[in-house]
Symmetry: C2
Subunit: 109 residues, 2 copies
């Protein structure tokens, strides 16, 4: 009987990042911010098919995960990409997804 291996912190971190990306609206938000530098909440609200309060929640989650930053510019709020954290996430995903597989196996489905 092998030991019940604990999940590593890095595995938890990757999962946390992936979870934050796990909703179409949040992907759309990131793409908007990537393409147009920065956006105001109001601008995104007009484009995305969700209520303003729901948008706030999604923005909060992306902020929590470190993907974006928000700046209050009264009376509106400007959001933009956190480029460093995006790059860091990119690295982590790449490390996982580009895994050098030592052996390739045949499957029947």
């Amino acid at each position: 009987m092998l030991e019940q291996n604990a999940i590593t912190e890095e595995q938890k971190q990757i999962a946390r990042l992936a979870k934050a990306l796990g909703h179409p609206i949040r992907i759309a938000i990131l793409e908007m911010l990537s393409n147009q530098a920065c956006c105001y909440h109001g601008d995104m609200s007009q484009v995305l098919p969700i209520a303003k309060s729901t948008l706030s929640q999604h923005l909060h989650e992306l902020k929590e995960a470190g993907f974006i930053q928000g700046t209050i510019t009264p009376p509106s709020v400007k959001y933009c990409i956190n480029a460093e954290n995006m790059a860091q996430a990119d690295k982590l995903f790449h490390k996982l997804l580009s895994g050098k597989i030592s052996l390739q196996c045949k499957t029947n489905e």
Copy 2:
């Protein structure tokens, strides 16, 4: 008033993939498979701190998303990475996360 933009299929696809990666156990599974070529359900079951039935569910989700493949080798089941789909996911995430941001903005938090 701008149009209520629909979410693109690609955005949905990225979100789907990210969602499948959004759990520590599933990240651990992928890393095991990446490092040790292929694994049997039973082997993973002994290492991971979850019930066998729960493991089956996680494996099903990873399979559904295309990250892994399962082969029945009676009486056990062998799982392995779907390298092509992993690479494809890697590409999609990279495209999103490496976004060429045209303007960097200053923030106060």
